[in-house]
C-alpha cells in the first residue's frame, strides 16, 4: 500500500472560529417516536411489506364481499353446474380453461355439462354448483372473523390478566399463575370439544373456546415483562408522585408492552385460523350454510383424485394467509426489537 503524501499547511491547525462551529447538540435526522421508528424499519423488510399489502387486500375483499355474498346466495344451488373446473375467459391453459383431467385426458367439462358459452366460474364450482370463488371469499371472511375476534379476547383477557398478575405480585400473583397453569394444562382441543358439546357447534363456540384457551401465553409474557418494568425508574417515579395504578398501567405499561402485544397478536391470528381449519376439517367446526377455509378444504380433499382444484384453491388461500401473517409477524418482531435483526 503506497503511502499518501499529506500536504499540511499551517492554516490547518487554526482553531475554528465560534461562528463557524456547528451545533453539537443538533440531531440531523428528524425525531422519531418508537412507532415511527419501527415503521421505518418495517418498511425496509420487503417480505413484511408485501405481506401487509396482501393481508390488507384480503381483508378488504373478504369484508367488502359482505355486500355481494349474502346468506341467500350461499344457500342457492345450481346442480346443473355442479363440479365444474375453473374457467377464465381468454386463458387457454389446461386447468384454467374449463377442462378437467378425466382418466388421463383433458375433457371440457363445460361442454360436457351443456353449460352456456357465456357462463363461467373463475375458480370452478362445488358439488351443488355454487361458485367456488364466492365460497372461498366467504370462507376467508369467516376464518378471519374467527381469528380476529379470538385474538381480541386473547388481548383483552391476556393483557389485563398479565398486568394485574405482574403488578400485584405476591399471593395474588401466585394464585393467578396457578389458574393459568390449570387452564394451560388442558389441551386446546379438549376445551373446544367440551364447548362444542355444551353449546351447539358453530362460530360462537369456536371463538369462545379459542378465547378461553389461547390467552394464557399472552398473559404469561405480559406478566414477565410487567415484572421487569415494575422496577424501572420511571414507574417508580410515577408511583412516588401518587399516580393511580390503573393510570400507570395505561400510560406507562401498555405503551412499553405494545411491541410484545403486537408481535404476539401476529402469531395468534394465524394459529387461530389454523385451529379453526383443523376443527372444521375433523367435522366439528362451522356449520352450513356458512363455510370456512377448513370446511372447504375438508370437502375438497375428499375429491382430490378427481377434482383436485377443489382442494388446491382453498389450500393456496389458506397457505398464503398463513405465510403473510407469519412474515408480517417476523417483520414486526424485527422492527420492534432491532437486536434480533441481523
Amino acid at each position: 500500500m503506497a503511502e499518501e503524501k499529506l500536504n499540511l499547511t499551517p492554516q490547518d491547525f487554526e482553531p475554528v472560529s465560534k461562528n463557524e462551529k456547528g451545533d453539537d447538540e443538533k440531531i440531523a435526522a428528524p425525531s422519531l417516536t418508537f412507532l415511527q421508528d419501527a415503521w421505518l424499519r418495517l418498511k425496509k423488510n420487503k417480505g413484511a411489506v408485501v405481506s401487509l399489502f396482501i393481508i390488507i387486500i384480503m381483508l378488504v375483499v373478504a369484508f367488502g364481499s359482505s355486500f355481494f355474498i349474502t346468506n341467500a346466495q350461499l344457500v342457492k344451488s345450481a346442480p346443473q353446474y355442479a363440479n365444474l373446473p375453473a374457467k377464465i375467459p381468454g386463458i387457454d391453459i389446461n386447468g384454467l380453461n374449463g377442462k378437467l383431467k378425466m382418466g388421463g385426458a383433458w375433457v371440457d367439462a363445460y361442454a360436457q355439462n351443456n353449460v352456456p358459452a357465456n357462463k363461467y366460474f373463475i375458480l370452478g364450482t362445488d358439488y351443488l354448483g355454487r361458485s367456488l370463488a364466492q365460497r372461498i371469499i366467504y370462507g376467508t371472511k369467516i376464518s378471519l372473523i374467527v381469528a380476529i375476534v379470538a385474538t381480541f379476547f386473547d388481548l383483552a383477557i391476556g393483557v389485563s390478566y398479565g398486568i394485574v398478575s405482574g403488578w400485584k405480585g405476591g399471593r395474588v400473583d401466585n394464585v393467578m399463575q396457578r389458574i393459568i397453569e390449570v387452564i394451560s394444562s388442558v389441551p386446546n382441543l379438549v376445551i373446544v370439544v367440551l364447548m362444542l358439546l355444551v353449546f351447539k357447534p358453530g362460530m360462537t363456540s369456536i371463538i369462545l373456546a379459542l378465547a378461553i384457551s389461547s390467552w394464557t401465553t399472552m398473559a404469561r409474557m405480559i406478566r414477565a415483562e410487567t415484572l421487569s418494568l415494575k422496577t424501572q425508574e420511571y414507574v417508580l417515579a410515577a408511583r412516588t408522585l401518587g399516580e393511580s395504578p390503573s393510570k400507570i398501567a395505561w400510560k406507562h405499561l401498555v405503551p412499553n408492552l405494545s411491541s410484545i402485544i403486537i408481535i404476539q397478536t401476529m402469531y395468534t391470528i394465524p394459529s387461530a385460523i389454523f385451529f379453526e381449519a383443523f376443527l372444521s376439517f375433523i367435522g366439528i367446526g362451522i356449520s352450513a350454510p356458512q363455510t370456512s377455509l377448513g370446511v372447504l378444504l375438508n370437502d375438497g380433499q375428499k375429491n382430490f383424485q378427481f377434482l383436485p382444484y377443489q382442494m388446491w384453491y382453498p389450500a393456496i388461500v389458506l397457505c398464503v394467509l398463513m405465510i403473510c401473517f407469519n412474515l408480517l409477524g417476523d417483520g414486526l418482531r424485527d422492527a420492534f426489537d432491532p437486536k434480533t435483526r441481523r
Binding site: 346442480p79 351443488l128 352450513a288 383424485q305 378427481f306
Partner: protein, 542 residues
C-alpha cells in the same frame, strides 16, 4: 464446511430409507384365496346379544351359523337346521339340527340356541335388539321383567331337536332365523370369559364358515379365517377375509388403486366420477331416508304449521328428489314410497305399485301454491324451522341441499340445519326435541311391516306423533285377523302405506344405494339389502 456434509449425509440416509421401504412394498400374492376388505369403522363388539350395528352383524353372520343363513337376494339357505316342520297354524316351529361343531370342538346343540335366546331376552343382558323376539311365547313379558327367562317358548328336545312356540304366526319367522340375534351361543364361552366375553377374537367360539383372528377389541385390522370345523367347509373357498378399517374415503380409494384392498364403498363425489368404471356397482339397500315432522313441537307456531297437511306437502314437494340423488346421494334412487322398492313382491308386483308417486312427487310450483295456502290457513307469514340430522358427511350434504331447496322455493321460510352425532339425534328424536328430522331407517327383515310399524300412534319410534285411526286399525288387522291370509294382509299393508303418504305423515326422500368398487377377480360376494349386509361364505378369488 463439515456441517453441510452432515446434512447431506442425513438426507442420503433418509432417502435411502424411503427407497428401501419402497422395495419392501410388494402386494400380496394374488393366487391366494384372500379377500382384502375395507370397512369404514371399527368393530364395536362380537356379543350377539348386545350387537347393534351392521359391522358387528356382518362379522357375526360370517363367523357364526344360525338355523338358517341368508343367501342371495335375501333367500334362506340351510344353516344348522336341516329340516323344519311348521304346525299349529304357523305357531309352532320344530327344527331338526344337523351335527356341527364349535371351534373349541364342542357340538352345536339345541341347548345352545335355548341358552342364547334366554340370555338375549334376560333384562340383565340389556339387549337392544331383543324386540325382534316379539311374538315368541312370553318374549315381551321376559323383556319387561315380568316373567323368568326360562318361560320363553323355546325348548330343546334332546340335542338335535328344537321346538319354538309363538304367540301368533310370524310370516317372516324363517327369515328372522338368519339374523345374528337368533344364533346360538356357547354357554361355556360366556361363563369362561365372563365380562371379557366377545371383546376380542379369542374370547368366544365360532361355528360359522370363518373364525376371527387378530381382533383386539378396538383395532383397525383383523382376519376372518376359514373355519375347518365348519359343517359345510367344502363350499368355503376363501382362506381368509382381511378386514382393514379406513375411515377416510380418500384413503380407501387410494388403497384400492394401489391394490391393497379389493373392496371399498364410495362417497358421493367419488361415485360421480367413477360411475363408468368397470368395477363400479350399486348396493341395493332397504334403507330409506325420510323427514319426520314434529306435530307436537314445543314451539306453538311450528306445531301449528307442521300439523297442517298442506305445509307438510309443500315441504315434501319443494325437495327436488331427482337432483338430490344426483348431487348429494349419488347412486341412490328417489324414494318410491315409505317402503323400499324391491323389499316385498307379490304376484310379480312390487309393494309400492299402488301408490304412483303419492307423497313422493317433487313439484316446485305446486309446493309454492300449497305453501301459500297452508300459511294462510294457519295465519302466519313466516316460518323458521330447525332441520335435525346426523353429523356424517352424507347427512351434512343432505342438510345443505334441503336448506337450499326450501329457502329458494318457499318464500318466508328460514331453515337452520343442525348436525349432531347419531346418538344425540336419536335421543332428540325420541324426546321430541326437533322440528323436522332426517331419519334413515334400514329394515331388519324383508317385510313391509318392518317399516310401517313405525308410524302407528302407539309406536315409540313414531317421533312426529302422527295419528290416524284408520292406519292403526289396518296395521292391527295385518297382525291379527289377516295374519294367515297373505292376500288380505298384503292389501291391508298397501292401503296403510297409501294413507300414510296421502296425509304426508312423513316425507320419504331417497332409498339409499351405496356405490362400491370391487375387483373383478372377486366372485360370489353376496350383498343383501336387509339385515346382514355381506355374506362371504361363497366368495372365490379367480
Amino acid at each position: 464446511m463439515k456441517l453441510k456434509k452432515v446434512a447431506a449425509a442425513g438426507s442420503v440416509v433418509f432417502l435411502s430409507a424411503l427407497a428401501l421401504a419402497a422395495c419392501g412394498n410388494k402386494s400380496a400374492d394374488s393366487s391366494k384365496q384372500v379377500f382384502n376388505f375395507s370397512e369404514t369403522g371399527e368393530l364395536p363388539g362380537m356379543d350377539l346379544s348386545k350387537a347393534t350395528d351392521t359391522i358387528s352383524f356382518t362379522n357375526l353372520a360370517n363367523t357364526m351359523e344360525g338355523l338358517y343363513r341368508i343367501g342371495k337376494d335375501s333367500k334362506i339357505e340351510p344353516g344348522v337346521a336341516k329340516k323344519t316342520e311348521v304346525s299349529n297354524g304357523g305357531k309352532t316351529y320344530t327344527f331338526y339340527l344337523r351335527k356341527s361343531k364349535w371351534s373349541n370342538g364342542d357340538p352345536v346343540t339345541a341347548k345352545d340356541f335355548v341358552y342364547s335366546w334366554r340370555r338375549t331376552l334376560d333384562p340383565k343382558t340389556a339387549s337392544q335388539y331383543s324386540y325382534l323376539f316379539d311374538g315368541v311365547q312370553n318374549a315381551n313379558d321376559i323383556i319387561e321383567g315380568k316373567k323368568a327367562p326360562d318361560t320363553l317358548g323355546i325348548k330343546a328336545e334332546g340335542d338335535y331337536k328344537l321346538v319354538v312356540n309363538l304367540e301368533k304366526p310370524i310370516p317372516y319367522f324363517k327369515l328372522l332365523m338368519g339374523f345374528p340375534v337368533f344364533f346360538p351361543q356357547n354357554q361355556k364361552a360366556v361363563d369362561k370369559f365372563g365380562s371379557k366375553y366377545a371383546t376380542a377374537s379369542d374370547k368366544l367360539y365360532y361355528n360359522g364358515p370363518f373364525k376371527m383372528t387378530g381382533w383386539t377389541g378396538s383395532n383397525l385390522s383383523w382376519k376372518l379365517q376359514k373355519n375347518n370345523s365348519y359343517w359345510d367347509k367344502k363350499n368355503v373357498h376363501l382362506d381368509s377375509v382381511n378386514y382393514q378399517v379406513n375411515k377416510s374415503g380418500n384413503t380407501r380409494y387410494n388403497k384400492y388403486k394401489q391394490g391393497s384392498v379389493d373392496y371399498i364403498t364410495l362417497e358421493t363425489d367419488q361415485a360421480k366420477n367413477l360411475k363408468n368404471n368397470a368395477d363400479y356397482h350399486l348396493m341395493k339397500e332397504s334403507t330409506l331416508a325420510y323427514l319426520e315432522f314434529n306435530e307436537q313441537a314445543s314451539n306453538p307456531t311450528v306445531k301449528k304449521a307442521l300439523s297442517n297437511k298442506k305445509i307438510r306437502q309443500a315441504l315434501s314437494m319443494a325437495i327436488n328428489r331427482d337432483q338430490y340423488v344426483k348431487t348429494s346421494a349419488f347412486g341412490s334412487q328417489a324414494a318410491p314410497g315409505i317402503v323400499p322398492d324391491g323389499l316385498a313382491v307379490r304376484n310379480g308386483k312390487d309393494f309400492n305399485s299402488n301408490i304412483k308417486g303419492t307423497g313422493v312427487t317433487s313439484d316446485a310450483k305446486e309446493a309454492k301454491k300449497l305453501w301459500k295456502e297452508g300459511l294462510a290457513e294457519i295465519g302466519e307469514k313466516k316460518l323458521t324451522l330447525n332441520l335435525l340430522g346426523d353429523d356424517n358427511d352424507a347427512a351434512k350434504k343432505s342438510g345443505d341441499f334441503m336448506q337450499s331447496n326450501w329457502e329458494t322455493t318457499l318464500p318466508g321460510l328460514k331453515v337452520n340445519v343442525q348436525n349432531v352425532p347419531f346418538k344425540t339425534r336419536l335421543a332428540r328424536s325420541s324426546s321430541g326435541d326437533f322440528d323436522v328430522v332426517l331419519t334413515l331407517w334400514g329394515d331388519d327383515f324383508a317385510d313391509p311391516i318392518s317399516t310401517l310399524d313405525l308410524f302407528t300412534s302407539d309406536n315409540s319410534q313414531n317421533d312426529g306423533k302422527w295419528k290416524n285411526s284408520e292406519y292403526d286399525s289396518l296395521i292391527k288387522a295385518s297382525k291379527t285377523t289377516d295374519a294367515n291370509d297373505p292376500a288380505k294382509r298384503w292389501d291391508d299393508l298397501q292401503k296403510a302405506q297409501k294413507i300414510l303418504l296421502e296425509d304426508q305423515a312423513v316425507a320419504p326422500i331417497y332409498q339409499r344405494r351405496t356405490p362400491y368398487l370391487v375387483k373383478s377377480k372377486v366372485k360370489g360376494l353376496i350383498i343383501n339389502s336387509v339385515g346382514v349386509t355381506y355374506n362371504f361364505k361363497n366368495v372365490q378369488i379367480k
